[in-house]
Subunit: 305 residues, 2 copies
């Protein structure tokens, strides 16, 4: 199976600390590298984790609070300086492109690579990219300013034909296309071999959802139903439910409730308030509601499976 991995570059919240960087994470699938959020210092977090920024193809920015994007202009500037020429795709709130342009203009910098920007649309669940291996979707979450969550899903793809069948019958390209589209095979002697005997059963496409920053927001459940891995912000312990509501953030228990109602495979908590040094109480609270929960710690990695 193609590895589908998530690397946490930072899962702190607004005020950065020495042991917890602000939001950034990298999703890796079959050579494609997708950066999700890009707080100040993300380019240094990439270096610390020995990941080349040159390999990033897509950058998704959830919203325009600084702890989610202040590192983007620095990352793009560095890519320019080290000679990138390959295009980079950026998806984010519409105002993001103006913020990038005003800074590039002030520096009299014309990027050496195409920056392909796609503004996010606040209206419902939208496909923002459909590639060879992955599809990206955006959907609104509930925060103080317009903010989006993301769902990244691998393509279903065509079934593979079993190698024993190919060796025995040496099908021509037309026959291969017919089998891949689901048809049965008729041998020269008239024998009909059923499609499911000669193709590998596909596993359902794996998916990852990223939901930060957001208050407890039930409309999410429909969008992220059944994802293999869900990252949901958990800024506070449940004793601060009122503060979470007022600041449009969630508690770890609320994150777990969303995970449970959406029937996801696994939940990752992140965007922890800087007041928490020990995160185990947040984890324990969430696990009471949704046992398969883990903490997104800087530098940690997770398989989407």
């Amino acid at each position: 199976m193609i590895p589908f991995k998530l690397k946490i570059l930072g899962a702190g919240s607004a005020i950065p600390s020495l042991h917890r960087a602000a939001s950034a994470q990298l999703l890796q699938y079959n050579g494609s590298n997708v950066l999700i959020d890009c707080a100040e210092g993300t380019q240094m977090q990439l270096k610390k984790n020995k990941i080349s920024a040159m390999r990033i193809d897509h950058i998704l920015i959830s919203h325009l609070h600084g702890d989610h994007y202040f590192g983007l202009i620095g990352l793009l500037s560095s890519l320019h300086l080290i000679g990138r020429t390959q295009p980079i795709h950026v998806y984010g709130p519409p105002a993001l492109i103006d913020i990038l342009h005003i800074q590039l203009k002030a520096a009299d910098t014309k990027l050496r690579f195409p920056l392909i920007f796609q503004p996010l649309d606040s209206d419902g669940f939208k496909c923002v990219y459909s590639g060879k291996y992955l599809d990206f979707f955006s959907f609104p979450v509930l925060h103080r300013i317009p903010t989006w969550g993301f769902l990244i899903r691998e393509k279903s793809g065509e079934p593979n034909i079993k190698s024993e069948f190919v060796a025995k019958y040496q099908p021509n390209p037309e026959t291969i296309r017919a089998i891949k589209s689901g048809e049965n095979f008729t041998a020269d002697d008239g024998e009909i071999i059923h499609n499911n005997q000669i193709t590998h059963t596909l596993s359902p496409p794996r998916s990852y959802a990223y939901c930060t920053d957001t208050a407890y927001f039930e409309p999410l459940i429909e969008y992220i139903k059944g994802v293999n891995l869900l990252y949901h912000e958990a800024t506070f312990m449940s004793k601060f439910t009122e503060e979470a509501k007022n600041t449009f953030h969630s508690t770890s228990v609320q994150a777990a409730e969303i995970a449970k109602k959406a029937n996801v495979g696994k939940l990752l908590l992140g965007h922890f308030s800087s007041r928490y040094n020990d995160l185990n109480p947040l984890l324990a609270e969430a696990q009471e509601v949704f046992p398969n929960t883990d903490l997104a710690l800087d530098g940690s990695a997770f398989e989407i499976e």
Copy 2:
């Protein structure tokens, strides 16, 4: 003597590395903290050096290349979040305030403290601030985009009256003012005591100059003549004199030539190209021209004396 100190937070150049942060430094004088340039990650460099960002009163930004200011919006945002209400003064290229405003607007953030911005003027040597203890001056240097150097000088101040004199004659406030303004003192018995017998001789005001990024630029010499400490960029070794010229940077030898011609007390080299791991060859080259030269390394500190 009042301590007058420089702390190097970062002295790397455009491409940040794990062992050398981009430009930022802090000048400390009698409780006043002046931040000079503010690259991405400066707020973390302050934390690493156990310096509270809350104590910064003034921020000077030399130019709008990212390795000199991309950390400013994050620093200001953090000060807002941790509840600063004291004003902060920012001096920089005129476009800087628009860059800050567009980002604050996108975040729907209204700073809790007054941000007092003063645009720099590209025309000659200008006083940009005159305070109780320090004066700041700006002057243009020679770079690809408009860029300024800074000179920070302590006030001459009034002379102090010797404690033995005060104990013996117990002068009233009017007499104290007269002596501080240079007058002699006439005792009740008619004896005239000369001013220089009852006051401490003032040492000349100490000063620090910051020149980065700049090509070799002789007009600087007049502006920075005789400063106690000069920070001058030294991006390259002298074998790259042509590359320095083409990119509007200096070699370490050129920095030393400026220091020598300006008759400064001490020279600090900085803004090193990321190609140099070992900086000692740059230092050695400069010391051949100007022996009292040192390297600005991240975390190092210097007295201005």
